[in-house]
C-alpha cells in the first residue's frame, strides 16, 4: 500500500491559502505598513519641532552674528538698542535680571514646595490629600498673565506699604510670583519622587521605632534626592522661561539691582516688550532673536540635566 509522500515544501515566501485569502492578507500587511509609517512620522515630530524652533529663531537672528562680539554681548550691561548714534546690545544686566529673579524665587519656592510635597505625600490621608492635590492642580492652571496682573495691582501696593519702598514692581514682586507659579510643579514631581520610594523603606523604619520626621529626614529625602533635585530643576526651568508675569511685575529698569526691591528686567520680558517696536530685519530685531537662542540654550541645558538626573534614578 503506497504511503503518501512528504510533500515538497512550498517555495519560501509563498503565502498559504486560497486566492481570496491571499489578497486580503496582502492588503492587511500593506495597510498595516502605511499606518505604521504615519505613526512613525508622528513619533519623529518632536525631534523635527525642536530642530525647527532652533532653526527658525536662529535664522531671524543670524545676520547679526557677523557683527556680534560675544563677550560684549553676554557681559556688557549697556543695553541701548534704540540709540540713534551708538546702539549697544549688552545683555549682561538682563542675564543678571533673569538669574536674580529666578534664584530669589527658588529660595522661597524650594523649601515651601518640598515641604508641601512631603506633607502631601507623608502626613496627609484620604479626603484631605485629595482636596489638597486638586487645589494645587488648580493653582498650576492659573495663567501667567493673571499672575502678572496680580503682581502689578495686588502685590505691588502691598510691597510698597509693607517694606516702605518707592516702587512695587521689582525683583521681589517677580520672585514672589515665580515662586507661587513654580511651587505646583515642584509639589507634584516631588510627590512622585517620594511615592517612588518603596513602602518597605518606611515600614522597616517604623519597625525600628522611628518617627515620621526621622523617616523623612534620614530615609526618604536621601532616597528620593534625585527625583527631588529634578523637581527643583524643572521649577528653575519654568522660572527662567516665564515671560508675562515678570514682564508685568518686575519693572522696566535695565540695570544691575542693588537690592531685592529694585526693578529689573529679564531676558524674556525684554523680548516681549521690545519686539513690537522693532522693524523686521533691523539690528535690534535680530538681537532679540539671538536672545531667544540664548534662552533656548539655557533651558535646553537645564532640562537635559534634569532628565539625566531622573534617568540616573531609573537606572538604579
Amino acid at each position: 500500500m503506497p504511503i503518501i509522500a512528504t510533500q515538497d515544501p512550498t517555495p519560501a515566501g509563498a503565502v498559504v491559502g486560497t486566492p481570496a485569502k491571499q489578497q486580503r492578507g496582502q492588503a492587511e500587511v500593506f495597510g498595516e505598513r502605511i499606518i505604521e509609517a504615519l505613526i512613525y512620522l508622528c513619533g519623529f515630530s518632536a525631534i523635527i519641532f525642536v530642530f525647527g524652533i532652533f532653526f527658525f529663531v536662529f535664522r531671524e537672528g543670524a545676520p547679526f552674528l557677523a557683527k556680534l562680539k560675544v563677550g560684549e554681548f553676554l557681559f556688557s550691561t549697556e543695553w541701548f538698542p534704540t540709540s540713534q548714534t551708538q546702539a549697544k546690545y549688552g545683555v549682561g544686566a538682563l542675564i543678571v535680571g533673569t538669574l536674580s529673579v529666578t534664584m530669589l524665587a527658588m529660595v522661597i519656592a524650594v523649601p515651601f514646595g518640598l515641604g508641601a510635597a512631603i506633607f502631601v505625600s507623608e502626613f496627609c490621608k484620604g479626603k484631605v490629600k485629595e482636596t489638597l492635590k486638586v487645589v494645587i492642580e488648580l493653582l498650576a492652571a492659573i495663567p501667567s498673565v493673571v499672575w502678572g496682573f496680580i503682581g502689578l495691582t495686588v502685590m505691588s501696593p502691598i510691597i510698597i506699604n509693607t517694606f516702605h519702598v518707592p516702587i512695587g514692581v521689582n525683583m521681589f514682586n517677580g520672585a514672589m510670583l515665580l515662586a507661587l507659579m513654580s511651587v505646583p510643579i515642584m509639589v507634584s514631581i516631588g510627590e512622585d519622587a517620594l511615592k517612588a520610594v518603596p513602602d518597605t523603606y518606611r515600614e522597616a523604619s517604623l519597625a525600628l521605632g522611628a518617627t515620621k520626621w526621622q523617616i523623612v529626614y534620614r530615609v526618604l529625602l536621601p532616597a528620593a534626592k534625585n527625583g527631588l533635585l529634578a523637581a527643583v530643576l524643572l521649577g528653575v526651568g519654568r522660572a527662567i522661561g516665564e515671560t508675562m508675569a515678570v514682564l508685568m511685575a518686575t519693572g522696566h529698569s535695565v540695570r544691575i539691582p542693588d537690592s531685592i526691591f529694585d526693578p529689573v528686567r529679564t531676558l524674556t520680558a525684554t523680548i516681549a516688550a521690545e519686539l513690537g517696536e522693532t522693524s523686521k530685519g533691523s539690528d535690534h530685531y535680530q538681537v532679540l532673536f539671538l536672545i531667544g537662542i540664548l534662552l533656548f540654550s539655557i533651558t535646553f541645558v537645564v532640562n537635559l540635566t534634569a532628565d539625566l538626573i531622573v534617568k540616573g534614578v531609573k537606572k538604579k
Binding site: 513619533g43 508641601a116 523686521k280
Partner: protein, 307 residues
C-alpha cells in the same frame, strides 16, 4: 488547679516614658511644620484669587460678556476677545491632539529601547521646557514669515499647538502604559495586527487619560499670551457682527482674553479700574471650569474601569 495565671506581676506592653513623649511631640511639630508650609502656599493664594474675583465680579454681566469691545478696547464688553480665544484654542488642539496622541502611540507601542527612542524622548522633554516667548519667536519666524501666513489666527494657533504637543504626548503615554501588556499579547495571539490591537483595545481603554490631558491643555492654551502676541493676536480689532463667526482664521488677526488683560492692565490708562479685574475673573472662571471638567471626566471614567 493551674498555676499558670495569678502570681505574675502585671506587665504593660507599652510604657510611656518621657523619651517616648518627647518623640511624639516632635512628631506633632513635624506635622504642623509641613502642614504649615502647605498652608502658607495655599492660603495666600486663595486670598489673592478671592480678592481679584471680588473686585471683578460686580462688572460681570451677560451684557459684558456678549458685547464687543470698543474705543480701542477700553469700553464695552469682551465678546470678540472671548470668541478669538475659542478660535485659537480649537484650531490649535485640532492640530496638536492627533499628532500628540499618535506620537505617544509610537513611543509607547512601537518604539524599541534604543538610543533613537532616547533622543525622541529627550526632544519631547526639551520641547516642553522651551520658554513661551521663544515659541512666539519661532511662530514669527516660521509661520508668519517663512510660511507666509502673516500675522493671523492660524499662525497663532499653530504656534500654540507646538507648545501643547509635549504635554499631550506625556499624558497620553502615561494613559497608554496603564493598559496591561497581557491584553496586547492576547490580541496578538489571535492574529490581530499591532494597529488593530491599538485601535480596538489600547486606545479605547486609555481614553480617560488622553481626554484629561487634552482638556487640561485647553485651559493652558486659553491663558497663554506671549506666543500669540507676536503671531496673530492684536490689542484691538474692531468687529461688526456679534455672532460666533467673527473672524476668518486664515487672514484675520483676532483679540484674545489673555492679550486683552495684558493690554488693559499695562497700557490702557483710561480704562475703568475694575475692567482688568473683570477680565481676569472671566479668565480665572474659564480656566477653573475647564480644569474642573477635566478632573470630573477623569473621576467618572475611572469609576467605569473595565478591569
Amino acid at each position: 488547679m493551674s498555676a499558670a495565671t495569678s502570681n505574675l506581676p502585671a506587665t504593660r506592653l507599652f510604657t510611656e516614658t518621657p523619651f517616648v513623649r518627647k518623640k511624639q511631640r516632635r512628631e506633632l511639630i513635624a506635622q504642623c511644620f509641613f502642614g504649615g508650609m502647605a498652608a502658607a502656599m495655599v492660603i495666600p493664594l486663595i486670598l489673592i484669587v478671592g480678592y481679584v474675583v471680588v473686585q471683578g465680579a460686580p462688572s460681570l454681566s451677560w451684557e459684558f460678556l456678549t458685547t464687543n469691545p470698543r474705543l480701542g478696547g477700553i469700553r464695552g464688553g469682551i465678546w470678540s476677545a472671548l470668541v478669538g480665544t475659542i478660535y485659537i484654542v480649537t484650531i490649535s488642539l485640532c492640530v496638536s491632539a492627533p499628532i500628540g496622541v499618535l506620537s505617544a502611540v509610537y513611543l509607547n507601542e512601537y518604539a524599541k529601547d534604543n538610543w533613537f527612542t532616547r533622543i525622541v524622548n529627550l526632544a519631547v522633554v526639551n520641547l516642553a521646557g522651551v520658554p513661551s516667548i521663544v515659541h512666539g519667536l519661532f511662530g514669527l519666524g516660521a509661520f508668519v514669515y517663512a510660511a507666509g501666513m502673516g500675522k493671523s489666527i492660524v499662525s497663532a494657533s499653530l504656534t500654540l499647538s507646538i507648545m501643547t504637543l509635549p504635554v499631550i504626548i506625556a499624558s497620553t503615554k502615561e494613559a497608554l502604559s496603564a493598559v496591561p501588556m497581557t491584553f496586547r499579547e492576547a490580541c496578538w495571539n489571535v492574529g490581530a495586527t499591532r494597529w488593530q490591537t491599538i485601535r480596538r483595545i489600547v486606545l479605547p481603554n486609555s481614553i480617560s487619560g488622553i481626554l484629561t490631558g487634552v482638556i487640561l491643555q485647553v485651559s493652558r492654551t486659553a491663558g497663554e499670551t506671549a506666543p500669540v502676541m507676536l503671531t496673530g493676536v492684536a490689542t484691538f480689532k474692531a468687529v461688526e457682527s456679534t455672532g460666533l463667526f467673527l473672524y476668518n482664521p486664515i487672514t484675520d488677526q483676532c483679540m484674545a482674553l489673555s492679550m486683552h488683560l495684558y493690554y488693559i492692565a499695562t497700557q490702557a490708562s483710561n480704562a475703568a479700574p475694575s475692567l482688568p479685574f473683570a477680565i481676569a475673573t472671566v479668565l480665572l472662571c474659564a480656566v477653573l471650569a475647564v480644569n474642573a471638567t477635566a478632573i470630573g471626566v477623569r473621576a467618572y471614567l475611572r469609576s467605569r474601569k473595565k478591569w
